[in-house]
């Protein structure tokens, strides 16, 4: 029994930060898609966020001899801003150039890992950027709370709290503010929105750039908490984020729940060696590694049929259309 509990707390200590990263990327997708723009580029945006985060932590952090948690803050902010700027290319192509939104996103997805690996090789000689793995912190007092304390506040990551704050803020913006209502109406019926005085182009820029910001933040959060040997590849995590958004039917709270499920899968896939109860099952490691992706497919098959996707998703905005 105690082996089970120690396994569970081990899994959760990784699943929580991974969930946060996945949730951030999903919420990013939510912003973009709510405004009517498909953002398949989130995978590349996440990689860009992680890449800039890694560079900042390692080189700027060392140069200025920064304390650990300040480096984390810098990586998160830098990753988010990098993601936002990077997503501007997708926004420009899909909003102003009437480009096919999937092609321009694919371009970003190809570019981000290439740039990351190139820079890593030029600077360090290998295609990995190794950062330290000592970013956990204990929150005094709060970590004494039973159950929740050890789960959230003991050996926790700063990104976890940032992520929870973002979830609250996004849910509020989405349902309780004029901005949220305008964003959602832009994605549903852009022509009608324009007739009510909403600038559809501005709204879509806001949606895509906000999604870039959150995607970059998610990438940096994942880097800090789960992937300290960055090699320009998050194994399709950005796409998992999109799958979570679809499974969560474009609703923030449901996204949170699905992010947790997917994070569990991801952690089991990566760390099954260290989970004692799985050691006795004797399944091949390749099996665990394909699990999150197969699981995603099954979930998608269940939840895509009755899609709650924004009505104008993927269509370039044409003012003269009715």
């Amino acid at each position: 029994m105690s082996a089970l509990i120690s396994d569970l707390s081990f899994i959760l200590s990784y699943a929580v930060p991974v969930m946060i990263a996945l949730m951030l990327v999903s919420l990013g997708g939510l912003f973009s898609e709510s405004s009517g723009v498909i953002n398949i580029a989130l995978d590349g945006i996440m990689i860009m966020g992680g890449f800039i985060g890694a560079l900042l932590v390692l080189y700027v952090g060392d140069a200025l001899d920064m304390p650990t948690q300040l480096r984390v803050v810098m990586a998160l902010v830098g990753g988010a801003v990098a993601g936002m700027l990077f997503s501007a290319a997708h926004a420009f192509a899909s909003i102003h150039m009437n480009a096919n939104q999937i092609i321009s996103a694919t371009a970003l997805n190809l570019f981000a890992p290439a740039l990351a690996v190139f820079t890593a090789r030029t600077i360090g000689g290998t295609d990995r950027i190794n950062i330290s793995d000592t970013y956990r912190l204990n929150i005094p007092l709060l970590d004494d709370i039973p159950v929740l304390g050890p789960l959230l506040f003991e050996r926790a990551y700063l990104s976890t709290f940032v992520g929870i704050a973002v979830l609250v803020i996004v849910t509020f913006i989405f349902y309780k503010t004029r901005l949220g209502l305008r964003l959602r109406s832009t994605g549903e019926t852009p022509q009608a929105s324009e007739s009510l005085g909403i600038d559809v182009y501005n709204m879509r820029y806001f949606g895509v750039m906000a999604s870039g910001f959150l995607g970059g933040l998610g990438g940096a959060a994942y880097l800090i908490s789960f992937d300290n040997r960055f090699n320009g590849d998050f194994l399709g995590l950005g796409f998992l984020g999109l799958a979570i958004m679809i499974s969560g039917q474009w609703k923030p709270i449901r996204i949170f729940i699905f992010a947790f499920l997917f994070a569990l899968m991801r952690v089991i896939a990566n760390l099954h060696d260290s989970i004692d109860i799985l050691g006795n099952v004797g399944l091949s490691s390749e099996f665990y590694r394909l699990l999150p992706y197969a699981f995603t497919l099954i979930i998608l098959a269940f939840f895509s049929k009755e899609s709650q996707a924004p009505a104008s998703l993927g269509e370039p905005y044409d003012q003269e259309k009715r």
């Binding site: 092609i103 394909l290 899609s307």
Partner: protein, 369 residues
């Protein structure tokens, strides 16, 4: 100069061709600048080797053709799906599954004799079709976005095929078995012309499939139906086309083509299947080739040959530049080819401006544009 703008204005397709060429040129310039920064001394000779090395002798051309064949096929797979309104990001997965099917037949079914390699190649097509078909079924009947599902299937195939290869093709040995001689793609007369290179008839198989696709898409009712569904799913349905079945067929065919690419890559004597940690890159390259080739079979063939030459040039240039730099240049060219969209818009705007500056003769005003 004005003549050029007029020509482009009259033939909008030429903008697309120009933008693809521009993407390649930009990519090469970018690569050259990178080489200058990293190793100024050897940049010029290295760059020249990458560009012209593949054409220095017949052996190198043989390598070029050998590299180009599977890439042309994955490019065709992506392009075919694109013509029918679908994005096949899953060519890598289909290629991987196809490779396993082909290898399984190629290693085990040696009773087949002279038709062994044909059956093995068909098995690869079947494997790819099954994998592509999953995406098609999910898209048609469960409304699952094909980009997301095919990315997931790429990863599933990576680990699943690793598992299958370890169990069936390794069979207790230390590395994957290679297909028996009768299952290898025949070299035909290629090994006499391009002596010393691994070239086989693979390139002709790729060309044949390109021709078949061209005919199916442009001259058959079936191809017309597939394209109509791509243009508008609802309109096609209204016209009596079974649109769900069409989507599944598109993915079956795209998958089969990518599967054959997998067969061409591994039904050879000089390369064995390695347990992969990353998705096989030829599938993603297919996306770039399809974009660069404007989704037309001829364009894909040209883009694939160009890509093959850059790969071969990369091999030859390793004397001058570090190996990784070559890979980076290839990545940059992929990027710029994907960006050809932007270039297209840019050239289009220039042409519009030039045509405005020079008012048209009255007689032309009435013509429809």
């Amino acid at each position: 100069m004005n003549k050029i703008w007029e020509f482009i204005d009259k033939k909008p397709n030429s903008i697309s061709v120009l933008s693809s060429i521009a993407a390649v040129i930009f990519g090469l310039i970018f690569g050259f600048i990178l080489m200058l920064i990293v190793s100024p001394g050897t940049a010029a000779s290295g760059f020249a080797t990458i560009l012209f090395g593949p054409f220095s002798d017949l052996r190198n051309i043989g390598f070029l053709l050998h590299y180009a064949a599977p890439i042309i096929l994955t490019g065709l797979s992506v392009a075919f799906a694109f013509k029918t309104g679908l994005f096949n990001i899953g060519a890598s997965g289909q290629l991987t599954v196809g490779a396993f099917f082909g290898l399984y037949v190629g290693v085990n079914w040696d009773f087949l004799g002279p038709v062994h390699w044909i059956v093995a190649l068909l098995a690869a097509a079947v494997g790819g079709a099954i994998w592509g078909g999953i995406t098609g079924l999910l898209k048609a009947y469960r409304n699952v976005n094909e980009v997301v599902s095919s990315i997931m299937l790429n990863y599933v195939s990576l680990y699943l095929v690793n598992l299958l290869i370890l169990n069936f093709i390794y069979a207790g040995r230390s590395e994957a078995m290679r297909p028996v001689a009768s299952a290898r793609i025949p070299s035909g007369f290629m090994d006499t012309i391009f002596a010393g290179s691994p070239a086989n008839i693979g390139i002709f198989i790729a060309l044949l499939i390109a021709a078949i696709l061209h005919i199916v898409l442009n001259y058959t009712t079936f191809g017309f139906e597939l394209k109509s569904v791509g243009e508008s799913r609802t309109a096609a349905k209204y016209a009596g086309i079974k649109e769900k079945r069409s989507i599944v067929f598109s993915f079956l065919i795209a998958g089969a083509i990518a599967g054959i690419a997998g067969g061409l890559m591994y039904l050879v004597g000089d390369r064995s299947f390695r347990i992969n940690e990353q998705i096989i890159e030829q599938g993603f390259t297919g996306i770039a080739i399809a974009l660069l080739g404007l989704s037309s079979p001829i364009g894909v063939i040209l883009a694939g040959l160009f890509y093959g030459s850059i790969m071969r040039g990369g091999d030859a240039a390793q004397r001058f530049v570090r190996e990784e730099i070559v890979e980076i240049i290839i990545a940059v060219i992929i990027y710029f080819s994907a960006l050809s969209l932007f270039a297209k818009q840019f050239i289009g705007n220039i042409v519009k401006q030039k045509m405005k500056e020079k008012p048209k003769e009255p007689s032309k005003e009435g013509e429809s544009r």
